[in-house]
C-alpha cells in the first residue's frame, strides 16, 4: 500500500509541477497582451510617430553652430584613458534583419566618433513595447550596471517614482558642468529647477524640442464637410453629427474601432472641453486632480464636483454607443488596428494626440494610403479644450535622460549624452541615421527619404526622445507643414505652460487610496465612456462619485492641497 501510494505521489508531484510551470509561462505571455494594446494607444507609441515627424520650426542654425563649435575639447582635463562601454536604455523594439544591419552600420560610425572624442562606445538596451513599463522598471531595479543612460519621462515612464526609489543618480551641478558642459549651458536655470527632487537634479530635460501631445480626435475633414460641418469638427456635439453621418453614408465602416482603452482620455478630454481644469501629471493614470486656469493652486477633482457635466457626458456616450461608433463588444476588443485602418480609409477617426495627427494629416507620407485612393481626403484634428481654450503645453520632462545609480561610469555617460544632444554629427547619426541611406536633404533644406528607402531596410530605431534639440533638427519634408504650423500657431495663442512642473507628489501615505480610486475610476469610466452602463446616466454617475468618496478621494485631495501649500505658498 505505502509503496504504491508513494509511486502515485511521485506521479502527482510531477504533474502538479508541470502544471505549475505551464501556468507560469502562460500568465507571463498573457501579461504582455494588454500592455501591447495600451502602448499602441497611448503616448508611448505615439512618440514613436513623433520621432519621425519633427516639430515646429525654430530660427536655428546660427545659435546652434555657436554652441557646438565653442571649444575644441571641453574635456581636456578629464581622464579618458580607459575605453568604456556606455549602455543606453530606451523603449522600442530591438531591430532585426536589414534594420539591424543598418543600425549596426550607424552605431559603427557613431562609435568611431565617440571613441575619438571621449574614448567610449555606445550600446543600446531596447525595452520592447510588449509590457514595456514592467520591463523598464525591472531593468532599472537590477542596479548592477547593466545600463548607464536611461531614457525616462515624468508622465509615462515613472521618472519620479524611480528617482525616489533610488534608481537614478543625483547629478550635481559640478558633474553637469564638467561632463555635460553644452547641455548645462543650454538648459536654463529655471528648467533645471523642474528636474529636482529634494533639491537634487535627477533628470536632464528635453526642453528645446517643440511638440504637442495634447489629445483630441483625428477625423476625416472631407467627410465632416459632407456631413454639413463646413469648417470641421469643433465640439463634442459636432462629433455626434459626424458619427451619425459616417454611419449612414459609409455603412461598411466602423467610425472608430476603439479597443476600449481610451476611456480616461475621453473623459478628461470632455472635462477639459467643458471647464478650465488643469490636471496634475504623475499621480494616477486618470490625472484626476488639479486646479483651474484661474486658480491653479487650489486642488480639486472635477470627477467629484462636476456632476452635471459628467451626467451629460454619460448621456452623450450612450448615444454614441447606440449610433454604433465602436463595436458592440468594445471592452473586450483587443484586436483593433484602428490607426492602420484609418490610414487606408477603413475607419473614420482616431483618438490620440497632436503629434500623431501631424503624421496622419500629411499626404506625402506614403503609409497614408487615403490620399492616394481619394484625392479629396483631408484629415482634421479636434483638440480637447478647444471650446474653452484650455490647452496646457507639454511638461519639459515628457522626455528626459537620467543616469542609472548602478552605472559604473556616470561621468563618461554624461559626456556621451552631451555629444548625442549637441554635436551635429552625432545628433544626425543617432536620430536620422546615415545620410544618403536613411535620409537626405532636398533642395529646400528639408529632410526626405532617399530613393529606394523603406522603413524595413533603413528605418531608425534609436528612439532618442530624451534630448532632441531643435537647434540641430532638420525638418521633415514629408510633414504637411501648412496645416501643422497653423494649428501650432493656434495653440501658441491660447496655451499656458504646464504649471506643476516643480511638484513631485509624495504619495506614500495615500498610495492605498489612490490605487483603489484608480480601480474605481477605470471600472466606472469604461462603462460610462463607452455607454455600457445599465440604469440612467444620473444613477451611474451618482454611484461612481459615491464610490470615490468611500475610497477617500477627499482625503487625497486634502493631502495634495497640503503639499501644494508647502510648495507654492
Amino acid at each position: 500500500m505505502k509503496k504504491k501510494l508513494l509511486a502515485v505521489l511521485l506521479a502527482a508531484t510531477m504533474v502538479v509541477g508541470l502544471a505549475a510551470c505551464g501556468g507560469g509561462s502562460d500568465s507571463s505571455t498573457s501579461d504582455s497582451t494588454p500592455t501591447e494594446d495600451t502602448s499602441s494607444s497611448d503616448d508611448a507609441s505615439a512618440t514613436d510617430d513623433a520621432a519621425t515627424d519633427d516639430a515646429a520650426a525654430t530660427d536655428d542654425s546660427a545659435a546652434g553652430d555657436d554652441t557646438t563649435a565653442s571649444s575644441d575639447d571641453p574635456w581636456a582635463d578629464v581622464d579618458t584613458s580607459e575605453h568604456v562601454k556606455i549602455v543606453y536604455m530606451t523603449t522600442g523594439d530591438a531591430p532585426s534583419g536589414d534594420k539591424l544591419a543598418n543600425y549596426e552600420a550607424v552605431m559603427e560610425q557613431l562609435n568611431a566618433i565617440l571613441t575619438e572624442k571621449v574614448n567610449a562606445e555606445l550600446e543600446t538596451n531596447f525595452i520592447s513595447w510588449t509590457d514595456y513599463l514592467s520591463n523598464y522598471n525591472l531593468t532599472l531595479a537590477r542596479m548592477d550596471g547593466t545600463v548607464d543612460l536611461v531614457g525616462t519621462a515624468s508622465d509615462w515612464l515613472d521618472a519620479w517614482p524611480n528617482s525616489k526609489n533610488g534608481a537614478f543618480l543625483e547629478l550635481s551641478e559640478d558633474m553637469l558642468k564638467t561632463y555635460a558642459p553644452q547641455t548645462w549651458a543650454t538648459v536654463p536655470a529655471e528648467n533645471w529647477e523642474l528636474c529636482k527632487y529634494n533639491g537634487e537634479i535627477y533628470l536632464i530635460p528635453e526642453d528645446n524640442y517643440a511638440q504637442w501631445t495634447n489629445h483630441g480626435y483625428i477625423y476625416r475633414l472631407d467627410w465632416a464637410r459632407e456631413a454639413g460641418l463646413a469648417d470641421g469638427v469643433h465640439s463634442w456635439e459636432d462629433l455626434t453629427t459626424y458619427w451619425k453621418y459616417v454611419r449612414e453614408a459609409y455603412p461598411d465602416i466602423t467610425p472608430w474601432d476603439s479597443d476600449g482603452t481610451h476611456y480616461a482620455q475621453m473623459v478628461s478630454g470632455w472635462i477639459g472641453s467643458h471647464s478650465t481644469f488643469v490636471p496634475i501629471d504623475g499621480i494616477n493614470a486618470g490625472a484626476m486632480w488639479g486646479g483651474t486656469k484661474e486658480d491653479l493652486y487650489t486642488v480639486y477633482s472635477p470627477y467629484v464636483t462636476e456632476t452635471d457635466s459628467l451626467v451629460e457626458y454619460a448621456k452623450m456616450m450612450k448615444e454614441w454607443d447606440e449610433i454604433g461608433v465602436w463595436k458592440t463588444d468594445v471592452l473586450n476588443n483587443t484586436a483593433s488596428t484602428n490607426r492602420d485602418d484609418f490610414k487606408i480609409g477603413k475607419t473614420a477617426a482616431d483618438q490620440h494626440h497632436t503629434q500623431t495627427w501631424t503624421g496622419l494629416c500629411s499626404p506625402k507620407d506614403p503609409s497614408n494610403k487615403i490620399y492616394e485612393d481619394d484625392p479629396d481626403a483631408e484629415v482634421g484634428f479636434f483638440y480637447f479644450g478647444e471650446e474653452t481654450k484650455n490647452v496646457v503645453a507639454l511638461s519639459i520632462t515628457h522626455g528626459a535622460m537620467a543616469i542609472s545609480a548602478g552605472s559604473a561610469n556616470p561621468e563618461r555617460a554624461l559626456m556621451v549624452y552631451d555629444l548625442l544632444r549637441n554635436d551635429p554629427d552625432c545628433y544626425k547619426l543617432f536620430n536620422y541615421g546615415i545620410e544618403g541611406v536613411s535620409w537626405e536633404m532636398n533642395e529646400e533644406g528639408l529632410r526626405q527619404q532617399p530613393e529606394g528607402y523603406t522603413d524595413e531596410k533603413a528605418g531608425m530605431v534609436t528612439n532618442f526622445w530624451w534630448g532632441r534639440n531643435d537647434d540641430l533638427e532638420i525638418k521633415s519634408a514629408q510633414t504637411n507643414w501648412d496645416a501643422v504650423d497653423k494649428l501650432y500657431a493656434e495653440y501658441d495663442g491660447i496655451k499656458i505652460e504646464y504649471p506643476y512642473g516643480q511638484f513631485v507628489p509624495e504619495v506614500d501615505s495615500i498610495q492605498a487610496k489612490i490605487q483603489n480610486i484608480n480601480e474605481i475610476h477605470t471600472n466606472y469610466m469604461k462603462q460610462i465612456s463607452f455607454g455600457k452602463y445599465s440604469g440612467t446616466a444620473e444613477e451611474i454617475v451618482a454611484e461612481y462619485q459615491q464610490k470615490l468618496k468611500d475610497a477617500g478621494i477627499d482625503d487625497v485631495t486634502a493631502e495634495l492641497q497640503a503639499q501644494f501649500d508647502a510648495l507654492y505658498k
Binding site: V8, A12, A19, S30, P34, G166, L331, A512, Q527
Partner: protein
C-alpha cells in the same frame, strides 16, 4: 558494517545504502531548495518601503502598510470568495470528469479509437491561454461571433455574453474543463493501469459485470490517488488561474462582479505603479490562507483515514 540494535541503520549507512535513490531525488531537492527555500527571506519585502539602492533588508520597515490597499478596497471578501468558489468548481468537477474519462478510456476496446480520443482530449492543454482567449472572443462576440452568426441565420435573437456577468461562471468552468480534463485524466488512467490484473480476473470469474467492476474495484483503488490530488489542489485554492481569467474576461468591468479574482484585481491595481511590495503582500496573504487550508484538510483526512493523509 556495524548495525544498531534491531537492524536499524545509522544515517550514514542509510545514505550509502540508498545512494541511487537519493541521487535520483537530488534534482528535485536542489530545485525546491533553490527556488522555494532560498527566496523565502524575500517575503520581508512585503513589509518594507522598497528602495532599489538600499535593497530589501536596508529599506524602511512599514509594517502592514502594504496590505492596506487590499484590505481597504472593500473587495477582499468578494475576491477571495470568487477565487475559492471557482477553484472548488475547477477541482471537484475537474477531478470528477478526469476520473470519469480515465474509466471510459480504460473500458475502450479499440486501441485505435482509444489513442485518437486521448490525443484529441490532450490537445487543448497545449493551447496558450492567450489563444484560448482569442478563440472564445471570436466564438462569442456580438458583432461577428460564430455563435451569433448561427443564431441570426436561424432567425433567433443575438446573444451578448460580454455584457452579461451571470453566464461567465458556467462559461469559465466549461472552458477550464475543456482545456484540462484530457491532461488530468492521465494520472488516473495510469493508476487504473496499475490495478492488479488478477483482481479484475477474479471479479470476472465471479461474474461481476462492467459496472460492478468499476464500482467495487476501480473506484476504491483510485481513492488514494483522488485524495492526494485533491489535497495537492487545495493548497493552491486561493491562487487564481490568472491566465484563464485575464485572457478570457480581459478588463471588461461589466463582468467583474462574477469573474474578478485576487490575481486579476491585483494585476490591474498594481500594473500602473509597478509595486513589488503590494504584490508580495498579496502573495503572502494567499500563501498563508492556502497553508491553513491544507493543514486543516490534512488534519481532517488524518482523523478519518490516516493512510491517506499527506503527513
Amino acid at each position: 558494517m556495524k548495525r544498531k540494535k534491531n537492524g536499524e541503520m545509522t544515517f550514514i549507512q542509510k545514505v550509502i545504502r540508498y545512494r541511487v535513490l537519493l541521487l535520483m531525488c537530488l534534482p528535485a531537492i536542489v530545485f525546491f531548495f533553490l527556488f522555494n527555500y532560498v527566496p523565502l527571506p524575500g517575503i520581508y519585502v512585503a513589509f518594507v518601503k522598497y528602495n532599489y539602492r538600499d535593497g530589501i533588508f536596508g529599506s524602511k520597515f512599514v509594517g502592514l502598510q502594504n496590505f492596506e490597499f487590499l484590505a481597504s478596497s472593500g473587495k477582499l471578501l468578494t475576491l477571495t470568495r470568487n477565487t475559492i468558489l471557482y477553484n472548488i468548481a475547477f477541482i471537484l468537477l475537474g477531478n470528477f470528469l478526469a476520473v470519469f474519462v480515465a474509466i471510459l478510456l480504460n473500458e475502450m476496446r479499440s486501441k485505435w479509437f482509444k489513442k485518437v480520443s486521448q490525443t484529441l482530449m490532450f490537445l487543448p492543454y497545449f493551447i496558450s491561454q492567450v489563444l484560448v482567449g482569442i478563440l472564445v472572443f471570436n466564438l462569442l462576440n456580438y458583432d461577428t461571433g460564430f455563435v451569433n452568426g448561427i443564431l441570426t441565420s436561424l432567425g433567433l435573437e443575438r446573444w451578448q455574453p460580454y455584457a452579461d456577468p451571470k453566464v461567465w461562471p458556467v462559461l469559465l468552468v466549461v472552458i477550464y474543463l475543456w482545456q484540462q480534463t484530457g491532461y488530468n485524466s492521465v494520472v488516473y488512467f495510469a493508476s487504473i493501469m496499475g490495478i492488479d490484473g488478477e483482481m479484475m480476473e477474479a471479479a470476472k470469474v465471479d461474474g461481476a459485470n462492467g459496472f460492478q467492476r468499476i464500482r467495487y474495484i476501480i473506484l476504491p483503488s483510485l481513492k488514494p490517488t483522488i485524495v492526494i490530488l485533491l489535497l495537492f489542489a487545495l493548497g493552491g485554492i486561493v491562487k487564481g488561474n490568472f491566465g484563464l481569467f485575464y485572457n478570457i474576461v480581459g478588463t471588461n468591468p461589466i463582468l467583474y462582479e462574477t469573474t474578478d479574482i485576487i490575481e486579476t484585481y491585483v494585476y490591474r491595481a498594481t500594473m500602473t505603479d509597478f509595486n513589488f511590495m503590494t504584490a508580495s503582500a498579496v502573495g503572502l496573504y494567499q500563501s498563508i490562507v492556502g497553508f491553513v487550508i491544507v493543514m486543516v484538510v490534512n488534519y481532517i483526512v488524518k482523523k478519518i483515514e490516516p493512510d491517506y493523509s499527506l503527513f
